[in-house]
Symmetry: C2
Subunit: 137 residues, 2 copies
DNA sequence: GTAACTGCAAAATATTTGCATCCTT
DNA sequence: AAGGATGCAAATATTTTGCAGTTAC
C-alpha cells in the first residue's frame, strides 16, 4: 500500500482525491509548502477552499504542522513522527533561506532547551533560523 | 525631552502625530501589539494605512521588530536596544500565552545557540515559546 | 443510506498601492 | 518652498463560512 494510503488509514481519514493529492505533494518535496505551492503542485485540480480544509484536517490529525514566520505567509510541512491527534511534537529547527525563500525542516537539528523565568509554563517551542541555505551559498 | 521625541530624533524621523501616538502605545504596554491593537490604542485617530506605513518605517529604522507566529497574525514590539537601520539584533525569546493570547518579549531570556549542518549560513534566529504565562496560571 | 467531503459563491479580514493634499523642517 | 507624511479610494491577497450537490464506506 502506498505511503499516502497508509497515512490516511492510520489517522482514520477517508480516502479522497484531494487528500491523496495534497499528501503526495508533501511527500514529493523536501521543503515546506505554502497554500499556493500546493494549489500549483496539485495542478489546480482542487478548489482553494478544499485545500484550506484539507490542510486544517491534516493539522488537527497531526499529519502536518505549520511553520511560524514574521514575513512570508503560513507554510506547512509533514510531521515526521510522533504527532498524534491534537498534539504536535515537532522538536526540530526550521530554516528559511533569505536567498531562495524556501523553508525547510532541519529534522536532525533539535531545538535546544531554554529555561524561562518562574511562573511560565512551557508548551510548544518553535525555533526559526533565517540565513542562506547550502544550495544558495 | 520625552522618550518618544528622543527615539524619533535618534532615528532621524520627522515628528508627526501618528509616529508619536504609535510609539506611545508601545511604551505604555509590556506586550507585543497587533496592528489592530494599535488602532485601538490610538483611539482610531489614524487611518489603517498610516499605521501600516508607520510600523514599516519603524521596522526599517530598527525601532520595532516583528514576532513570528504560525497562528495569530503579525505582532510588533519595541526593540530594546542595539537595533540599527536595516539590522535587527533581537536575541530574546518570545512568549505567546495560549490562555490570554498575549505575546511578550522575554528580554532577559537569551536565545540559546544552535549549530546547523555544514553549509548553512545563519542570520537571524527566532525562538517562540507557547504556553501559559504567570498571570494565567 | 448516511455522514463526510467538495465546489461555488460570497463574506470577512489583512495588506498594498496610487494619488491628491497637508504637514514638518 | 520642498520633500516627506497622511487620508481616502480601491486593488490585491488571504482565509472563512454557508449551502447544495457529490462521494466514500
Amino acid at each position: 500500500m502506498s505511503d499516502v494510503l497508509t497515512i490516511l488509514k492510520k489517522h482514520h481519514l477517508s480516502n479522497t482525491d484531494s487528500r491523496r493529492a495534497v499528501l503526495e505533494a508533501f511527500l514529493q518535496t523536501e521543503i515546506a509548502l505554502a497554500h499556493q505551492d500546493i494549489e500549483r503542485e496539485t495542478k489546480e485540480r482542487f478548489d482553494r477552499v478544499t485545500i484550506y480544509r484539507t490542510l486544517q484536517t491534516f493539522i488537527d490529525k497531526g499529519i502536518v504542522h505549520t511553520i511560524p514566520s514574521a514575513d512570508s505567509g503560513t507554510r506547512y510541512a509533514l510531521c515526521r513522527e510522533n504527532c498524534s491527534e491534537g498534539h504536535h511534537h515537532d522538536n526540530h529547527v526550521h530554516f528559511i533561506c533569505d536567498a531562495c525563500g524556501r523553508t525547510s525542516c532541519l529534522d536532525d537539528v533539535a531545538i535546544p532547551s531554554v529555561s524561562l523565568p518562574k511562573g511560565y509554563k512551557v508548551g510548544k517551542i518553535d525555533m526559526v533560523v533565517n540565513g542562506v541555505c547550502p544550495e544558495c551559498q
